[in-house]
Symmetry: C2
Subunit: 209 residues, 2 copies
């Protein structure tokens, strides 16, 4: 049976119910580990699922951060050092990846069994266990007035990826790489390929390519 | 073998290769149909995959739009009327949904076989064939200087969903609803559930809930 939630129904729902409902509402999403480091050299690793493609030329990626009212190591580190990494993970590591979201004392790399890896020119740590590793430099910060969240834009400086996952046309086969995705706050999934569809034109139905 | 792309490698790559690479780089993503209407009453329907959860209290969703340098009906309609809808779709409709991205003359609802549906208080059309329909009011627009894209924030005013997809704790079971996701510019996938994991704490490994 079709249920309707009005804006008031949502606001008057129990807090946990509302969080589960609204976090799963936008659909499936990527979930990746963001690596960062503070100026004292302490590394941080945390899962994020609000990551979007902003543009290809130049290559830009956006990440949405919760309000900076409590300690947010990842955001503070990015604003402090100007760099961060985004690292996808596979089924083999998704429980450890989820565990990085706990309130650890010290670095989540060591606590959760991930290996920091460094590349010249990017101070932030990559995750050695990740099949797709991205190094980014902070280029823009936008503050969302409606609820105090922050949209951080980074420019891609380095991509590290096994070439067997890259198609001839540049498409990265995330499914072949075993990349995990998420829904809501705590649900993890793998994928089944349906098709890549041809560029859409009015005169014919899109076909698998 | 591990391949490295530097920022220069990406910028010097062929345009289509770069677009495929960077669009698939951020991982799997939701893909939904955004419904809108202009002040003359002409409806528009278009697929978007840059949609993120912004907050639960109040319930806010963000959508990233390409630069407004060519005709962008969806963005213009939202800025004009202040409302839009986000509608997930299933495997049964993913080819038609992809087809809405062609340069149609007239409404994509009629051209691609979707049924517009209206609810009091929201002028934008919902997609009757969608298992999860969301009505939103525009609350904020942020302009990203780095590349001229626009981040639009909408507040959720109505959710329409079959109650069999909603768990007791508010979590929407997108997989049970058959919701399709995307990767890159043109790849579509369904999902396999791994687990929902318990809230992460330092003293024990997360468990399936």
């Amino acid at each position: 049976m079709i249920t309707t939630f009005s804006n008031k129904d949502i606001l008057y729902a129990a807090s946990d119910y509302r969080k589960n409902l609204i976090n799963s509402l936008t659909g499936f999403k990527s979930v990746s580990l963001i690596g960062s480091i503070n100026s004292a050299g302490v590394t941080n690793l945390s899962p994020f699922s609000q990551i979007v493609h902003v543009g290809a030329t130049p290559p830009l990626i956006g990440v949405l951060f919760r309000p900076n009212s409590v300690v947010r190591h990842t955001l503070e580190n990015i604003l402090d050092t100007g760099y961060f990494t985004i690292n996808h993970f596979t089924t083999e590591y998704y429980i450890q990846a989820h565990h990085t979201s706990a309130r650890w004392q010290g670095s989540e790399f060591e606590k959760c069994g991930f290996t920091p890896k460094y590349i010249d020119g990017i101070p932030a740590p990559f995750v050695a266990e990740s099949p797709i590793q991205i190094g980014l430099e902070l280029v823009e910060r936008l503050d969302i007035k409606s609820n105090g969240t922050h949209f951080i834009v980074g420019e891609v400086k380095q991509i590290l990826i096994d070439d067997k996952y890259i198609s001839a046309d540049g498409f990265i086969d995330l499914e072949k790489a075993g990349v995990v995705l998420s829904s809501g706050l705590d649900s993890y999934h793998t994928t089944n390929f349906l098709a890549r569809l041809s560029y859409a034109k009015p005169d014919h139905t899109p076909k698998p390519i």
